[in-house]
């Protein structure tokens, strides 16, 4: 694959770090200053299964609908200023997502100015039995078990695809590119390599593009959001600026944000994001390249600007990661609040009483977990001895394959208000809700069996 080098610098702005992120962010990124690309990451591991459920109910669904509103809010930026959009909003139904975008453009009278590129081929669900039959076991990367163990409960199966088909869509003139389960980092790396003309074997540069993608894939989490370093003094989070990558042809790049926005971009804020969800830093594996995070060099380069250089990469493996979602039983979590005096003791007593009742009912659970929020829920025994707390939240959760057992559990919490320990409140939310668990099964598959397809219209 070749891409004509057109630029010395390309600016990619992040406008969404997950489905549910700030609705204002995409528009603010497009209107707040000059950018070339807007990158929107909508997909977390569990998102695909939620979208699959929606598609089963309605064949026109199964994509991140927030994306339609986001595009609507930035149409002038796309059609008049030439901002291009890359998003994995397609979920399990990229064609339907593309159709919704075309409809929005049509209504706004700019249909001819919006060229939608659609990347498909990541969805392995229709091919799953064929793949298993031909010897692809799709073993769980964590446990080693073959997928056959949960085959009948699988809801979705998607290969993580890389930057190549996105580049193809851009080369064919798409100004809105919609993918399904592409890697988060490819959404940033693809426009960078396309605009700067990087070749498919320029491993260090491709790795730099991946690191750029990792830094901005969680939106404001690198620009002051959820930043522990000096958190009290991070300015104006209400008006937080989402990050922008300014990538140069030589493989170096800056992270910055629009002038006049809040938050902060510093070596510390960027370092916190770099270590987020980190595994072995020597091998950050993607479909395009393996990046070595121990080679990343960061330097402050002015207010809200960090320069990144030195990144080394090497060829990728011959596998793609596959994200499989399967039904794994049911769960429910309920809470009550106990007040001073002796709040923790009362909460402990409530736990004891409730557990005895569940046992007397003969209910058995795969898992039963009690936490005392305000005392030990997040740091457990590390939190040390609690002082006489003003209040403690008693939080109990259960998990089981047996839905009836979970249903019955949800009826046992409220009675404690009148027939358990005293000074109890905080039950206004009603009975806990029974939730079906959709669990995640990570696996690997040979790259050559996954064929992506690009359409631009």
């Amino acid at each position: 694959m070749t891409a004509d080098r057109k630029k010395d610098l390309v600016r990619v702005a992040a406008g969404q770090g997950f489905w549910g992120d700030w609705l204002e962010a995409p528009r603010r990124q497009v209107e707040g200053g000059d950018i070339d690309y807007l990158m929107l990451d909508y997909l977390a591991e569990v998102t695909m299964s939620i979208l699959q459920k929606q598609k089963e109910r309605d064949a026109k669904m199964g994509y991140a609908r927030d994306f339609v509103g986001a595009v609507e809010s930035i149409l002038p930026g796309i059609t008049k200023r030439g901002v291009r959009v890359v998003a994995n909003a397609g979920g399990v139904n990229p064609p339907a997502c593309a159709e919704a975008i075309r409809a929005v453009a049509e209504r706004a009278g700019v249909r001819k100015d919006v060229r939608v590129g659609v990347v498909t081929g990541d969805d392995l669900l229709p091919r799953l039995d064929e793949l298993l039959a031909s010897g692809h076991e799709l073993r769980n990367m964590d446990t080693g078990e073959p997928l056959s163990k949960v085959r009948d409960r699988v809801m979705s199966a998607n290969a993580y695809i890389g930057s190549v088909p996105i580049v193809e869509a851009l080369r064919r003139g798409a100004n809105v590119v919609i993918t399904g389960r592409s890697t988060d980092t490819a959404l940033t790396m693809a426009p960078i390599r396309y605009e700067l003309g990087w070749g498919a074997e320029e491993w260090d540069k491709l790795a730099a593009g991946i690191v750029a993608g990792h830094i901005i894939e969680c939106g404001a989490q690198c620009s002051g959001g959820n930043c522990l370093y000096d958190w009290r003094n991070i300015p104006d989070l209400a008006n937080v600026g989402y990050p922008i990558i300014e990538a140069r042809a030589d493989g170096t790049f800056d992270i910055t944000k629009h002038k006049g926005t809040g938050g902060r971009i510093s070596v510390q804020s960027v370092t916190e994001q770099l270590v987020y969800e980190m595994g072995d830093p020597h091998s950050y594996i993607t479909p395009d390249v393996v990046a070595d995070f121990t080679t990343i060099q960061l330097a402050a380069a002015g207010t809200d600007r960090v320069r990144v250089h030195g990144i080394k990469g090497r060829p990728p493996t011959d596998k793609l990661k596959v994200s499989i979602a399967y039904r794994a039983g049911f769960k429910a979590v309920g809470t009550l609040v106990y007040a001073w005096p002796d709040a923790l003791e009362k909460a402990r007593k409530a736990d004891e009483v409730l557990r005895a009742r569940l046992q007397n009912l003969g209910l058995s659970f795969d898992q039963l977990l009690t936490e005392f929020v305000g005392v030990s829920a997040t740091h457990g025994p590390l939190a040390g001895h609690a002082a006489d707390a003003p209040e403690v939240q008693f939080r109990i959760g259960v998990r089981s394959e047996d839905r009836a057992a979970i249903e019955r559990f949800t009826r046992e919490l409220a009675p404690l208000v009148l027939n358990g320990p005293p000074s109890v409140t905080g039950f206004a939310g009603g009975r806990p809700k029974v939730e079906e668990i959709v669990a995640y099964w990570p696996a690997l598959i040979d790259k050559r069996v996954v064929e992506t397809k690009v359409e631009v219209a």
Partner: protein, 118 residues
């Protein structure tokens, strides 16, 4: 001198399945070697005893003045299976910052380390 990590480092954590990671970053570059020396795999495993069920791995990132720890069996099954408040391991970061280390007085003076407040 007793020094608490919260005064000499910052951190962020996340999840991968039933594993939580904690990236811990020296507040000053000259404090990184101290972290590398003190925060051994064994020391961190001991810190999280009774909190996690699996082993601990450590990776060094001197370029970022950071260490990355993988805490296996930290999330009650992980992801959607977990019943924990912190099912995605978001605050294991500050749980590690609770750790108190002993630093020889001369070294502590030389590095201008703050003494533990607790």
């Amino acid at each position: 001198m007793r020094v608490q990590l919260v005064d000499i480092a910052h951190a962020r954590s996340g999840d991968k399945g039933d594993t939580a990671n904690v990236g811990i970053i020296a507040l000053r570059p000259e404090w990184y070697p101290l972290l590398e020396k003190q925060l051994t795999r064994d020391r961190v495993r001991e810190h999280f005893r009774g909190v996690i069920t699996g082993d601990v791995e450590r990776y060094e990132l001197p370029n970022l003045k950071a260490l990355n720890f993988l805490l296996h069996g930290a999330l009650d099954g992980g992801g959607t299976l977990s019943l924990k408040t912190d099912a995605q391991g978001k605050v294991f970061s500050t749980a590690l910052l609770r750790m108190i280390i002993d630093v020889p007085d001369a070294e502590a003076r030389q590095l201008s380390l703050p003494a533990a407040r607790t």
